[in-house]
């Protein structure tokens, strides 16, 4: 039996958007203020969970057709690749590179290879938590 949660679903549409924005913000702010890939990832997950709560698993699957295990793998690969890039330059593993750039719109921004690493973390966190929730949720 499907209950009719119009109220919830309407609120969710707005709220999910807010949460996602917040997640992205916290992810990018991580290097300078509290936050980072990890919390960002978890927040993203919670947005998706909220969707799952309001709608149902299949609908969410249709909206977000990711294979979360692959996402985890890609995240790990990204993190690993960022770290391993230093091998090419024969400097110790994990040596990060960064510089300050003057980008249009954003003003002076530091582009940091650690950010890529953090993106890996982000993907892994989303991938794994969603994997867990989805597998349990789908289990009979």
């Amino acid at each position: 039996m499907k209950t009719n949660d119009v109220m919830l679903q309407t609120a969710t549409k707005v709220v999910t958007f807010i949460i996602l924005m917040f997640a992205v913000h916290i992810f990018f702010a991580g290097h300078y203020t509290p936050g980072g890939g990890f919390v960002g990832g978890l927040l993203t997950t919670s947005a998706i969970v909220l969707l799952m709560l309001s709608f149902d698993l299949e609908t969410v699957k249709k909206i977000l057709p990711f294979n979360y295990v692959t996402m985890t793998a890609v995240g790990l690969l990204l993190a690993l690749a960022t770290a391993a890039a230093s091998i090419i330059f024969d400097v110790p593993f994990f040596t990060h590179a960064y510089d300050y750039f003057d980008l249009p719109l954003f003003g002076e921004t530091s582009l940091h290879s650690a950010m890529l690493f953090d993106a890996g973390v982000y993907l892994v966190v989303v991938g794994v938590t969603m994997t867990i929730i989805q597998t349990i949720g789908e289990d009979e």
Partner: protein
């Protein structure tokens, strides 16, 4: 000379045996094997001239030079004597086995592989100058003996005997290894020759007595001395050629060899003398006494072997007395060493022949039970003659080799009464008395063996097979040995010069500088002296007792089996599995709770103990962060929620309270200025609670009956203990900060060198990014683990090995 490699010749040959067995079907595999000992015998015999002059030969091959381990073949009189015994008797035994073991019914390739392996091992033992490789070969003999005894592996008795012999001899070997290591530590060398030169200095070392005892354990177990002899009778389950070879002529003599070889090292100690001579003599008496209880031909021979080994052992012990004597001429101790070696040769010869006869009887009549046998004299005349020669030699009758060595044995024992060191003057009188008693029983069982088998009434109905004389091939070896028995009687001094004296020199180097100095002349007649009267007494009393044997033999059965040494072994083995099982079941309960209680108790005990013993507890009241009001409030919340978990009845309450604890912790993070932690903790706590609910509430079939956790004092004590331990260590650690933290570096460089502002985040992705990389790997693994757990459901049947 690289004759060290010759040791491995039999092993090398063994590699081809399975091939030969399979490919060359027509010829008995034994014929190929026979070549090995024969070649070796001829080669080693050619070395005799060197040792007769007291010379020696050394050949070395490095194995693990870093550990100073090498194969060193050292050939002097003693090792050459043994080498010749091994190869000579080995050749005869192989010849005998060709006729004894049927080509078609037996797994000959296994048999000969083991036998050749054994030959290598034995050669290795007697030739090794290096303690470690000596040990290597020592264990190899145990193993090959194990395999040979278990040759008929479907028989229970075979398996039992094999295991028993291995357990006991390997135990001795391990102890001996300990002794060897101690010796090497004291002398800083593994070489026996060098140890001998260092002996006087080592004697004062703390380890000396330990080394002595441990080495003797090895020798006693291998040579079946009391109380370790029990494996030998059970080893008779091996095919008879094996018994003749391993369990009478060679392997059991390895212990004797070891004692002889190390006598120069240990002779300085009175313990050595007492132990070797005493145990040896007691074994001699014990073995001969119980030989009469046996009903199995090979059993009699086994006990006889035990007894004879004890005899030789006691002689070796007596020979050690020579170390303490200044003037050789005054003493008769020199006889002891000579007698030991001489009897060793004699024993190998006559016992080998006796075993072969026992095998023949078994082979031709189908039984070895002496009660079923009798009257075979006329049916098997050659066998009878050989058996009689062997047995009479064993009993010490002239004109057989045994008579000579038995006489010398008595001489040596008598001489011990004159020895005035190590309280010998008080207790020494026991030696000749026990020796005499043992000899009497030896006399009786020798007769028992021969006459109860060959004389008396023939009982064809009790025999599984009609008895007849053995084929000629099987008789070659025993006849040859019997002839040797007689030959030795007539040329004892030639044997003495060639074989015995060079060997004696190795045992008693402190007495002699060259074999020619060993001033012993063997003669069958040496006037009317105590020894002669003793011998006559043996014949008289022994004869009388044999005559009345049927009257008193039954009293043996009154000995209760329950308190015998065999029973002890059986009980030990029983204890080792059933006892261990029960003991183990006592604590391996399967309850995780018990395990945790053990573990936590240990943790509490050891940590608090250490804290107490090292006086590490300290509380430093300076350098503390101020206590804020709000901290206390959160603390109360934390403690309150924890208590809720402890007392709550409902699962849901517990879960929520756990969440509350998590949130309190997050608030602590807020207060203690850790925003990143607080963020993470909050999210994670929420997700965890959600997971808890998913896992624990979404299961209709579980009854929702909930109950308060029953209070258990034991658990509470352990729990409080852990809490106290952690608190105390935390206080002490915090109060004894000794070094500034490395984190100052991060604070200084985070903006300038790492290009970041949030130090924690920069540590995570940069300074200690490696941690993070694998932390997310952990997450990833958890992910796949969970999927696999949910999706993959195997029942036991389909789980494994589905492609079979």
């Amino acid at each position: 000379m690289s004759f060290v490699f010759l040791i491995f010749l039999p092993l090398l040959a063994a590699l081809f045996i399975p091939l030969l067995f399979k490919k060359v079907g027509k010829i008995h595999t034994g014929w190929f094997v026979l070549a090995v000992p024969v070649i070796l015998f001829i080669y080693y015999a050619s070395l005799l001239p060197t040792t007769i002059d007291g010379g020696n030969l050394v050949s070395e091959f490095q194995w693990i030079p870093s550990l100073d381990i090498a194969f060193v073949a050292y050939i002097d009189g003693l090792s050459l004597l043994f080498t010749l015994l091994i190869t000579g008797i080995g050749a005869l035994v192989v010849l005998y086995s060709i006729f004894y073991l049927d080509k078609h019914r037996e797994q000959l390739h296994n048999f000969y592989v083991y036998l050749l392996m054994f030959m290598t091992a034995m050669l290795g033992i007697v030739q090794s100058d290096h303690l470690i490789t000596l040990y290597l070969f020592w264990e190899l003999t145990s193993i090959s003996s194990f395999l040979l005894i278990g040759y008929w592996y479907t028989r229970d008795r075979s398996r039992f005997g094999a295991l028993k012999s291995m357990m006991i001899t390997v135990f001795g070997g391990l102890m001996m290894l300990g002794g060897f290591v101690l010796l090497s530590i004291m002398g800083n060398t593994y070489s026996i020759r060098e140890l001998i030169t260092l002996a006087p200095e080592m004697a004062t070392h703390d380890f000396f007595i330990w080394a002595l005892v441990l080495v003797l354990l090895g020798a006693f177990t291998k040579s079946a001395q009391f109380p370790f002899y029990i494996w030998l009778p059970d080893a008779m389950e091996a095919p008879t050629p094996v018994s003749a070879y391993l369990h009478s002529a060679t392997m059991v003599k390895a212990g004797l060899y070891l004692v002889a070889r190390l006598t120069p090292v240990f002779a300085i100690s009175g313990t050595w003398m007492w132990l070797v001579a005493g145990v040896g003599l007691f074994t001699m008496f014990w073995g001969s006494f119980f030989a009469l209880k046996q009903k199995d031909l090979k059993g009699i021979l086994a006990f006889s072997t035990v007894s004879q080994l004890g005899l030789i052992m006691s002689l070796l012990g007596a020979s050690a007395a020579g170390y303490h004597i200044d003037n050789i001429a005054e003493t008769t101790f020199m006889y002891a060493g000579f007698a030991a070696i001489f009897h060793l040769i004699n024993h190998a010869v006559f016992k080998g022949s006796l075993f072969m006869i026992a095998g023949i009887i078994d082979h031709e009549t189908g039984t070895r039970d002496i009660r079923k046998l009798g009257g075979l004299m006329s049916l098997m005349p050659i066998s009878f003659t050989v058996a009689m020669i062997g047995a009479f030699s064993m009993a010490g009758l002239p004109p057989f080799g045994g008579f000579l060595s038995k006489e010398m044995f008595l001489t040596a024992m008598l001489s011990l009464t004159d020895f005035d060191l190590f309280s010998m003057d008080v207790w020494g009188i026991l030696f000749p008395v026990v020796a005499w008693l043992g000899s009497v029983f030896t006399f009786i069982y020798s007769f028992y063996f021969v006459f109860h088998t060959f004389a008396g009434k023939h009982k064809p109905k009790q025999l599984p097979k009609p008895a007849h004389e053995a084929p000629i091939g099987m008789l070659i070896s025993p006849v040859f040995l019997a002839i040797l028995v007689i030959v030795i009687f007539f040329i004892p001094n030639r044997v003495g010069d060639w074989l015995v004296k060079p060997a004696v020199m190795a045992i008693q180097p402190f007495l002699y500088n060259s074999p020619s100095e060993v001033d012993v002349h063997v003669s069958a007649w040496h006037g009317f002296n105590t020894e002669l009267f003793m011998t006559l007494g043996i014949f008289a009393v022994g004869g009388l007792m044999f005559w009345t044997l049927h009257k008193w033999q039954k009293s043996y059965d009154r000995f209760p089996d329950a308190i015998s040494l065999n029973a002890l072994y059986d009980n030990l083995m029983f204890l080792s599995d059933d006892g261990a099982n029960r003991f183990s079941m006592l604590y391996m309960t399967g309850f995780i709770r018990s395990y945790l209680v053990y573990m936590f108790s240990f943790v509490i005990f050891i940590l608090l103990g250490t804290l107490y013993l090292t006086e590490a507890f300290a509380v430093d009241f300076t350098n503390l962060a101020p206590v804020g009001f709000y901290e206390i409030v959160i603390l109360v919340a934390l403690v309150g929620s924890t208590l809720t978990i402890l007392v709550s009845k409902s699962r849901l309450t517990s879960i929520i309270a756990l969440g509350a604890v998590g949130y309190s912790v997050a608030l602590f993070f807020v207060i203690f200025r850790a925003p990143d932690l607080a963020l993470t903790q909050l999210v994670i706590e929420t997700i965890s609670v959600a997971l808890f609910l998913l896992a624990f509430y979404h299961l209709p079939q579980i009854s929702r009956k909930e109950e308060r956790m029953p209070f258990r004092l034991g658990n509470a004590v352990v729990a409080v203990g852990v809490g106290i331990t952690m608190t105390l260590i935390a206080l002490s650690s915090h109060s004894q900060k000794a070094m500034p933290s490395i984190s100052e570096f991060y604070k200084e460089t985070v903006y300038t060198e790492a290009g970041g502002g949030n130090i924690v985040n920069v540590i995570l992705v940069d300074y200690r990014g490696f941690d993070t990389l694998f932390e997310i790997a952990v997450l990833g693994i958890a992910g796949i683990g969970i999927i696999a757990m949910i999706k993959l459901r195997l029942s036991k049947k389909e789980g494994q090995h589905e492609n079979k």
